[in-house]
């Protein structure tokens, strides 16, 4: 069953590609950050599962709330004239790579 999430990812991508729905250019910045936050959450979830600390409620709430909040924060930043986009980008980017590194180490250590 380990492939179910991957199938699900591909199914989501396919539906998105075929739906014909597209994000208005004005919002593309916010959704981009939201997606980055989402990716961070997913990797964080995988990592915490590997560490045995996984909690469904934390994972699900983290995914949706982080994404939403990241987008909103960047939007607020744009309205206030502060480039919070960069702050979110760096913060999530660093965390994403951290999580990736931990997952990689654990996968290798398992061999």
């Amino acid at each position: 069953m380990w492939w179910l999430p991957i199938i699900s990812l591909l199914a989501g991508a396919l539906i998105g590609a075929l739906s014909g729905f597209s994000i208005p250019p004005a919002f593309a910045r916010y959704t981009a950050i939201a997606i980055l936050a989402g990716m961070d959450s997913v990797l964080g979830g995988v990592r915490s599962e590997m560490e045995g600390k996984f909690s469904t409620s934390i994972f699900l709430s983290g995914f949706f709330v982080n994404s939403l909040l990241a987008g909103l924060l960047v939007y607020m930043g744009d309205r206030l004239g502060v480039d919070l986009y960069l702050a979110a980008l760096v913060a999530f980017g660093v965390r994403l790579f951290n999580n990736l590194a931990v997952i990689r180490r654990r996968l290798i250590a398992k061999e």
């Binding site: 990812l9 599962e49 560490e51 994972f59 996968l107």
Partner: protein
């Protein structure tokens, strides 16, 4: 993936070496979350690909309004140059009429005006038409091969002068001693006026000779090859009654002084 094997989970204890997947809470939530992520990723991917065009069109809009305004202004100014020039001519003719001695000078002036391109002219000649190809370029092919370029237009004009043309106009832009033909951002400019295809080059002069020279195999070889291979439109036609308009620009020399021969 091995089973975690019944190790009891407590805070501080980790299943260090096991990565276990089952359709438990974690599996289902990961599936749901990845579905949403995939959906957003692909939508964003598509939107991002369409975005540059949208931004360009916004900038393009500003440029095109500016361009339209400037072109309207240019047209206006050309109109007033025309009007003022006619006025000058009228005054000069009046002066010529009033004094018999001025007659010769007036004749000379008339000839010079014709040569300078300030008078619309008519007569026999040849008309060369250049136009973009109606074919669509195949993928991977250079689309530049399918459109008319400034150098091609220049070649045609030069060849027509060479073949004895006495006066030439391109799409009603009269070529004079200061005329230029060049391309700016994909459009061809003649006398600093934007022209769009098809380009009609009207040349007054010996139509037989011009048609002959243009028809020679050695003339405009690449243009003819391109016309054959890519459908670029290029043809010449003899005309009995051609008209070329007057030059609508202005001569305003700033650095010229009359030298002594």
């Amino acid at each position: 993936m091995t089973n975690s094997g019944g190790i009891i989970q407590k805070r501080g204890f980790h299943r260090v070496q096991q990565f276990h997947f089952s359709l438990s809470g974690w599996g289902i939530s990961l599936t749901v979350v990845l579905f949403v992520l995939g959906l957003f990723l692909s939508v964003q991917w598509r939107s991002e690909r369409e975005k540059p065009a949208a931004q360009d069109s916004r900038a393009g809009e500003i440029y095109s309004t500016t361009l339209n305004r400037l072109e309207a202004e240019q047209k206006d100014l050309k109109g007033s140059v025309d009007r003022l020039r006619k006025e000058i001519q009228r005054y000069q003719e009046l002066a010529g009429l009033s004094k018999e001695t001025m007659g010769e000078i007036t004749d000379e002036l008339r000839l010079q005006r014709i040569v300078a391109g300030l008078v619309p002219l008519k007569g026999p000649g040849a008309k060369v038409v250049l136009d973009d190809s109606k074919k669509t370029p195949a993928t991977g092919e250079n689309p530049n091969l399918y459109i008319v370029h400034d150098y091609q237009l220049r070649d045609v004009v030069n060849l027509l002068w060479h073949a004895g043309a006495e006066s030439i106009a391109v799409n009603d832009e009269r070529l004079v001693s200061t005329s230029s033909i060049y391309s700016s951002g994909g459009t061809i400019m003649v006398n600093s006026t934007r022209l769009s295809p098809p380009f009609a080059v009207q040349a007054l002069g010996d139509s037989d000779r011009m048609a002959d020279v243009v028809g020679q195999t050695a003339s405009l070889r690449t243009l003819k090859a391109q016309s054959e291979a890519y459908g670029l439109i290029f043809n010449i036609q003899k005309e009995k009654d051609l008209r070329v308009p007057a030059f609508r620009g202005s001569y305003a020399p700033k650095f010229l002084n009359v030298g002594r021969p």
